[in-house]
Each structure stands twice: as C-alpha cells, then as structure tokens.
C-alpha cells in the first residue's frame, strides 16, 4: 500500500505546480504556431514538444531528467552542450546554401557584417542590465538571428542559459514578419525602397569551387574560434558544388541535418525545465533579444544607406535587413516590403545573398565573442 502511495506521490499529477503548467502551455503555443501559422516549423515544433516533455514533473535523482547524468535525454542533450549538433547542422546548411548570388554581387557581403552590430549593442545592454560578461556574450549572439550559432556560443560561454537563449532566438526568428517590416519602413524612404538591383551575372563553376576554400581560410584565420561552425559549413558547400561527391552532399542535406535538427530542437526544448527556465534572467533575455533583433535590422538598413553615399550603383537599403541571417525569412520580408513600394522590384535573390553573408557574419561574431570571453 505504501508502494502505491509512494508511486502516486511521484506522479506528475502530484508533483506539478503552476510553473510546469505555464511551460507546457508555452510548448503548446510553439506547436500551435508551427502548425497553424507555419512559423519555422522545423524548429518550433521539436522545441515545442521538447518543452512539454521536459516539463513533465518527475522525481529528481531517478535518472530521468535532462540534467541528470545517465538519462537518455542527457545523452541526447550532449550534442547540444558539446556543440556537436550546431556543427552538424552547419554542415547540412552548407550543403544546401547556394552562394552564387553572393558571388555575383560581393559588396552585399558587407551588409551581412553590418547587421551583426545588433550583437555588440546587445552585449553592452546586457552588461548594463547586470548580466555577467559571459552571459552577456551568449545573450548578444541572439542578435545574429541564427539558431545553431546562438546555441553553440551559449553552450560554450553560459551553458545554464541554453534554454532561454535558444527559445528567444527561435521565437524572434519566427516573428521576423512582425518585427522587421515596420523598422524597414521607418528607416527608408519610398524612393530608397524602389531602388532596383541589377541582374546578377552568371557565376562560373570555378568561382563556386574556390569560394568555400578561400572562405574557410580567410574567416577561420581571422577568428579561429569560428572553426567549429564555419569549417563544416564551407565543407558542406564544397561537397555541394564539387559535383563529385553528390551522394555525400545529398546525405548531408537530408538524413544528417534532419537528424541533428530533430534532436537539437527536442533537447533544447526539454532543457527548459520550469525550475531552471522560469527565472528573472529569462525575462531579461527575452527583452534583450527583442532589442537585438531590432537593432540588427536597423543597423543593416542604415549601413546600406551609408554605403550608398559612396557607391555609384546604389544598393536598395532594405537588403540591409536581410543581413540578419534568419534564412530565408528575412529575405522574404525584404522582398515583400520592396514589392509594396514597387510591384516590379525583385529583391529575392539579393536578399538571399545577404542572408548567406549574415550566416557567415554571425558565426564569425560567435568566434570573436568566444575568444574575448573565455
């Protein structure tokens, strides 16, 4: 009889308090958004379900929780804390990314750097709000608008914040259609939004082959700490463009990245156990995340306007907003905002180029911040 009572006192029904309910509702909201609104479903759905699973109350010390050694969730979560999943996701991303528009219009690459200013502004804000330096670095990277990069850097600098940082990063990425357009319209005149971009030239196969090799050397020599992200990223891209290892590239952009995505999302979600997640810090992180995204968007746009002061062939400043990676959400918003100003202005391909550059930019920033703060 004591056995039954003891069992019942260890059920979730007995152990649950309001915080678990709150988190489970958050998880359900994520799932709802991913299915009904189709916001970044590849990540919001696994994270949402992970949040639910991670917030089933259980008796600690039993080997069940994600933070208990020997639990299955803990082993799967190792891919997050070690940085393996982000690296593997970057391998697959590389094998998916087409750099030809970027190679045709190299100056767009600078916009991918400009949009990283949100990172540094957030770094200052986080320090000012009283976060410790490493925590501030992890929060700042949200401004890079790149999920795996954020998770990677947070795992290295402030593992206790992986949950909130990842949730904030993916939430705001899902909210790109709501955050970016007003900022873009505020900072640009209708004239500017109408600037047309020239047709991109044909890029030779050789350029495409040389790019990943040159890219990895230049970027990783500058910030060696970005090797774990940019190494696999450019490797995946070389596999894609080489044409001689199609079966490997195909597996990298299907089975490999899918597997990493499933377990990354699920365990990051499950890491948001109510007692470690529902803290004042998380509130601060969400607040700073919103700032980071907004500043990133604004700085991309403003920098494009500054570049226009010096360029003969003007850039449409909306493209600056696509410099925050958030592939391909931000490129789409740029395109749609451009279409509203001039229904015949197609900014898609150029937006994608800025996206690709933004991915490299934020991975570089992750390397830089890691170097500064470790």
């Amino acid at each position: 009889m004591t056995l039954l009572l003891q069992f019942l006192s260890n059920t979730g029904y007995f152990l649950a308090d309001y915080r678990h309910i709150v988190m489970i509702l958050v998880g359900c909201t994520f799932i709802f958004l991913s299915i009904a609104k189709k916001y970044e479903p590849l990540l919001l759905l696994p994270i949402g379900f992970g949040i639910i699973v991670g917030n089933v109350p259980f008796f600690k010390g039993f080997g069940l929780g994600i933070y208990e050694p020997n639990s299955v969730l803990h082993y799967l979560y190792f891919g997050v804390t070690s940085g393996l999943y982000p690296s593997i996701v970057f391998l697959g991303l590389g094998a998916m990314t087409d750099f030809s528009s970027l190679l045709a219009t190299p100056k767009l690459m600078i916009l991918g750097a400009a949009a990283q200013m949100g990172i540094y502004f957030t770094l200052l804000s986080a320090l000012a709000l009283g976060f410790l330096p490493r925590e501030a670095g992890a929060i700042a990277i949200i401004g890079g608008a790149d999920g795996p990069t954020s998770i990677f850097l947070t795992a290295k600098l402030a593992p206790h914040l992986i949950g909130p940082v990842a949730i904030a990063a993916y939430s705001y990425m899902a909210l790109i259609p709501i955050i970016q357009p007003p900022i873009m319209r505020l900072l640009t005149s209708k004239e500017e939004r109408r600037i047309r971009m020239p047709e991109t030239r044909e890029v030779s196969r050789k350029e495409q082959l040389i790019f990943p090799v040159v890219g990895v050397i230049l970027c990783c020599f500058l910030a060696p700490a970005s090797i774990p992200l940019l190494g696999p990223f450019f490797f995946g891209n070389l596999m894609k463009v080489s044409g001689v290892v199609d079966r490997l590239a195909q597996t990298a952009r299907s089975a490999i990245i899918d597997t990493a995505t499933i377990f990354l999302g699920f365990t990051v979600g499950a890491s948001t156990q109510a007692d470690v997640f529902l803290t004042p810090k998380s509130v601060g992180i969400f607040f700073l995340g919103a700032i980071a995204f907004s500043i990133a968007t604004a700085s991309g746009v403003l920098f494009a306007k500054i570049m226009n002061l010096f360029l003969k062939q003007k850039i449409n400043p909306l493209l600056g907003a696509a410099g925050v990676s958030a592939v391909p959400g931000s490129a789409r918003e740029v395109h749609l905002t451009g279409l509203k100003a001039d229904p015949t202005n197609y900014l898609l391909m150029h937006g994608m180029a800025c996206n690709a550059s933004g991915v490299i930019g934020s991975a570089l920033c992750a390397g830089i911040l890691w170097s500064f703060l470790l």
Partner: protein
C-alpha cells in the same frame, strides 16, 4: 554592477568596438577577395582541361555510332564503374555514376545500351546488365 559602470568594468566598450571592427573588416576582405575570384578562376580557364565542353556536341555522334564490339567493352567498363549500385539499379543512378566518373555522353551511352539490349529492364522500372 549595472549600467555604464558594468560596461566599463567588464571591458564592454572595447569588446563591442573591437568585435564590430573585426567582423566588418573580415567580411570586407572576403568580399574583396570574392570580387577578384573570377580573375583567379580565369587563370585556370586557359588550361587544356577546357576542350571537353566543346567536345560535348561531338561525342554523341561518335558514341551513338560505335560498333557492337566497342559497345560491349564500354558496357563492361560501365558496369565496373557502376558495380557499387548492385543490380538491378535505377537508370538515373547509373547516369549519376557515369557523369561523376566523367564519361563523355552518359545519356546517349545509356540510350545506346538500351537500344542494343545490353541494359535490360528488370522489375519495378529498374534495369540490369544483360548477362
């Protein structure tokens, strides 16, 4: 510690400015190098490797007409290249292998094999080599 005090104390200003400078200069350099890539790529263009593309229109005729003896040799080599596919295999997979291995006109080669009965249909839309 909060506010500007915290920022100064933790080197915030330096980190922010240095970080911004580094990423900006890094991507600017990369952007510059990329803009020169077509020149570097151009250097390679002059190599003797180029002819093949011009050959392409020619090869079909040649490979199309080759006599049956040659054909069987080609088939033998071809089946060697494609041994990893096992049998039966999809035509598309065979095509991929031949293309990757640098066969001159994989499409025509395969068509010829089929017309001459060297490649025979198996179940399920797959094909295998005539034994």
């Amino acid at each position: 510690m909060y506010g500007f005090e915290a920022i100064s104390h933790y080197n915030g200003w330096t980190m922010a400015i240095a970080g911004a400078l580094i990423v900006m200069s890094g991507l600017t350099i990369l952007s510059f190098v990329i803009s020169q890539l077509h020149r570097v790529a151009g250097l390679f263009e002059k190599r003797p490797e180029e002819p093949p593309p011009e050959d392409v229109p020619e090869t079909p005729a040649k490979s199309f007409g080759f006599p049956l003896d040659d054909l069987q040799e080609a088939a033998a080599q071809c089946s060697l290249e494609a041994a990893a596919l096992g049998e039966p295999f999809e035509i598309k997979a065979l095509f991929e292998v031949l293309k990757n291995r640098g066969w001159p006109a994989p499409h025509l080669t395969i068509r010829t094999f089929r017309e001459r009965g060297i490649l025979v249909p198996a179940e399920d839309g797959l094909f295998s080599w005539k034994k």
